[in-house]
Symmetry: C2
Subunit: 393 residues, 2 copies
C-alpha cells in the first residue's frame, strides 16, 4: 500500500463540489498505490484539529450520493493559514497520518495554501504531493476555461431571470414595472453575465462603473419601450470611485468584504426617482446551493477535475491544479489540462471587455457562445416525497 490521501474542501461551497470529491474518492479507491482515503472535516481547520473521516467507512449509497448533493458534505471553511509556522504544523500532522497526497478543492486562496504546503514540505525533506482542484461559482480563477460550480449557478441564474421576466411581463400593465435580481460573483461579472442568456433589459457588472443617473434613464427608457424593465445586478457593482454600491462592515478570514444588498438599494432609487412599482429578489445562497437545477456539463466537469487530480498525482506530478480546456465551441468539446499552482494564487479573472456589449448593459454574442455550453443539460437529483435525496455525511 502507498501513502494515504487527504481531500479537503475550501471556501464558498457549490452545487458540484461534492461531485469533485466523489471523483477523487472513487478514482483513488481503484489505485493500489494509495493507502487510506481521508477527507478533512471543515477543510484546513479539520486538518489542524486532526479531524479526518476515513471515506471507506461511509455507506456506499451515501458516498455515491455525493454526485448529486450540493454544499460541502465534509464541511468547508474560510480560514487562511496564519504563517509558515502554521503551515509547518499542517505538514507535521499530514506526516503523522502518513499522508503523501493532499488534494485541496478550492479557489485562488486555497491553491496558494496548497502551493506553500508542497514547497515547504519539500524543504522539510518530506515532500507531500499537492494537487489543486478548481472550485468557484464566481468563475474568476485564471487559466482554466471555467471553474466547476459556475455552470450550475449560471444555469440557475439564467432560468430564474427567464422565469421572473415572464412574470413581470404578464403583470406590468397594472402592477410591477421594474424587477431587480441580485446575484453573486464578487468582483467578477461572470454570474451576472449568465443572466444575459435570458436577455434581461439591464445587467449591472462589477466591471462597469455604476452611475445612478444613467441607470435610471435606461430603466425609464426601457419601461417606455417595453412596459417593464428587468435588471440583474451583481453584488459587486461599484460606483465611479470604485466603491461597492452595497457592502456591510463585515470581512471574512481573507479580509474580503461581505457583500449583499444591492437590489434593495437600487429598488429604493428607482422607486424614488421614477415612481415605478418595483420588486426585488436576492438569490444569495439559493443560487449556489441549487443542485436541483444543476448543469449536466458542470457535474461532468466537476467529477473529471477530481478524477484527474488523482491521476496526475499517481503519474508523479505535483504542485498543479487541474483545469478545463475548451477545445471546440461548436460542437462544444473540452478536455482536462493542468497549470502550476503558483500561477493561480491571487489572480482574479474578470469578465473580458469583449464579453460586455458596447452600451455596457448586456453581453455580446461571443459571451453567449462561451456561456451556453456551460449550462447545458439537466442533471436532476433523485427525489423522494417531493424533495431531493441529498447525502449527509
Amino acid at each position: 500500500m502507498g501513502k494515504n490521501l487527504l481531500y479537503a474542501q475550501s471556501g464558498g461551497v457549490t452545487p458540484v463540489i461534492n461531485a469533485q470529491a466523489y471523483g477523487v474518492i472513487e478514482t483513488a479507491a481503484l489505485s493500489q498505490d494509495i493507502g487510506k482515503i481521508f477527507a478533512a472535516r471543515n477543510g484546513i481547520m479539520g486538518v489542524l484539529d486532526e479531524n479526518f473521516i476515513d471515506t471507506s467507512t461511509i455507506d456506499k449509497q451515501v458516498l455515491s450520493g455525493l454526485m448529486h448533493t450540493p454544499s460541502g458534505a465534509f464541511g468547508s471553511c474560510r480560514y487562511k493559514l496564519q504563517d509558515e509556522d502554521e503551515i509547518k504544523k499542517v505538514i507535521e500532522i499530514l506526516q503523522r497520518h502518513d499522508i503523501g497526497y493532499f488534494f485541496y478543492n478550492g479557489g485562488g486562496d486555497s491553491q496558494d495554501t496548497s502551493n506553500k504546503i508542497t514547497q515547504i514540505s519539500k524543504k522539510m525533506g518530506a515532500p507531500i504531493t499537492c494537487i489543486g482542484i478548481p472550485k468557484t461559482i464566481d468563475n474568476d480563477l485564471p487559466v482554466t476555461d471555467n471553474s466547476p460550480g459556475f455552470g450550475s449557478v449560471a444555469k440557475y441564474v439564467a432560468i430564474s431571470t427567464l422565469e421572473a421576466s415572464l412574470d413581470v411581463a404578464s403583470m406590468c400593465a397594472s402592477s410591477t414595472k421594474v424587477f431587480i435580481m441580485e446575484v453573486m460573483g464578487r468582483h467578477a461579472g461572470w454570474i451576472a453575465a449568465a443572466s444575459g442568456l435570458a436577455n434581461p433589459h439591464i445587467i449591472l457588472f462589477p466591471e462597469v462603473a455604476f452611475e445612478a443617473d444613467k441607470f435610471c434613464a435606461k430603466v425609464q427608457q426601457t419601461i417606455d419601450k417595453h412596459g417593464y424593465c428587468v435588471v440583474v445586478a451583481s453584488e459587486g457593482v461599484k460606483d465611479t470611485n470604485g466603491k461597492f454600491v452595497a457592502k456591510s462592515n463585515n470581512k471574512d478570514a481573507f479580509g474580503h468584504a461581505q457583500l449583499g444588498g444591492v437590489a434593495p438599494k437600487l429598488a429604493s432609487l428607482v422607486t424614488e426617482r421614477l415612481q415605478a412599482k418595483t420588486h426585488w429578489a436576492v438569490c444569495d445562497y439559493l443560487q449556489r446551493a441549487a443542485r436541483h437545477i444543476a448543469s449536466q456539463t458542470d457535474v461532468e466537469q466537476a467529477y473529471a477535475t477530481g478524477k484527474a487530480a488523482v491521476e496526475f498525482a499517481l503519474a508523479g506530478k505535483n504542485a498543479l491544479m487541474t483545469t478545463i480546456v475548451r477545445t471546440s465551441n461548436n460542437p462544444y468539446e473540452w478536455e482536462i489540462g493542468s497549470v502550476e499552482l503558483e500561477k493561480i494564487a491571487n489572480v482574479e479573472k474578470f469578465l473580458p471587455i469583449e464579453y460586455i456589449s458596447a452600451d455596457g448593459w448586456g453581453i455580446t454574442q461571443q459571451c453567449k457562445e462561451y456561456l451556453l455550453p456551460l449550462i447545458s443539460g439537466e442533471a436532476y437529483p433523485p427525489y423522494k416525497n417531493g424533495l431531493p435525496i441529498y447525502s449527509v455525511i
Copy 2:
C-alpha cells in the same frame, strides 16, 4: 354553435395558472355548445379594452406549451372594477362579443368580481354564466383544500430551504452562522409553513406575533446547539401591535400594502444583537415563477380546475368556483368540487393553529401531512440549450 367563451387571468401569477388556462381551452374546444374561445389580454383590463385573443389562432404547440409555462401567458392584472357602472360596461362588452361564459382565474377579489358580473347580468336580463377558477400561491382561499399555484411554490420553498441549509451547515464552523430566507404569502403563513418540510430551525409566520427579544434568544440558542441557524420568514410577519415588520408605502389596486424586506431587517437585528455573521435571501417573484421545479400534483390539479369549470358551465351551473376536495390523506386522493362564488369573496384562510408547533417556531406533523402530497412529483418542462422552452403568446 353556442355562445362564445371568455377566459381571463387575474392577480399575482403562478407557475401553473397557464395549465389552468389550457384546461379551459382544451376542454371547451371539444364542445359543440361553445362558439369561439377567447382569452382577455391582461385580465379584466383587456375586457374593458376589448382586447381579446381568439385562442384558435394560436399555434398548437405554443398552446399546449401552456401546460409547462409559468406567469400569465395572456397577461394578468391588479385592477378592481370601480363600481356597478363599470361592471355594467363589462357586461355590455361581453354581450357585444356574444360571450355567454366568463371564466375568471384568480383569487378572492376576482371571485367577487365574477359574482357581481353574473348577478348584475341576470338583472339586466342577459345572464352570463360565470365560473371561477381558484388561483393563489398564498393558499388563502377558503373552502378549497388548496389552491393551484401553492403546491409548486411550496415545493420551491421547501427545496430552497433544504439546499441552503446544507450550504450553511457546511460552512458554519468558520463563516455564516445565520441564514434568513424571506418568502411570500401575505397575511397567511402557508408558504412559510412549506419550508417546514425541510426543517429549518425557525419559521416566522404572520399568524404568530414577532418579538425581537424572543427571536434573538432562539437564534442564539440554536447556534449554541447546532452551530448555525436557518430562519424562514414570511413577508407578512407582524409585531405584537399587528404592524408589519417590513412594508413599503406602496399599495396595490386593491389597497393591499406592498410587502418585502423582512429578511434584511432581521439580518441587521441578528448582526447587531448577536454579532453573528448573517446571510439573507429574498425569493420574491423567483418563487412564484419557478416552473422549472413545479409540483406534479399542482400541475394536474391546475388543469383539472380549468377543465371542470367548463364542464360545470356546460352542465348549466353558474356562480360557482371549482375547488379541490381532499378525500384521503394516505394515500393522497382528491377530486373536484365546487362552492358558490359568494362564499369565497373577501374571506382569507389562515394557517390553522393546529398546524403551528406549540413553541410557535415550526409546523406540526398534521401540517406536514397536509403539505407533503401537494409538493409531490416533479413536472419538468422541456429544455433547449440549457433553458426551459416556455410559450409566449
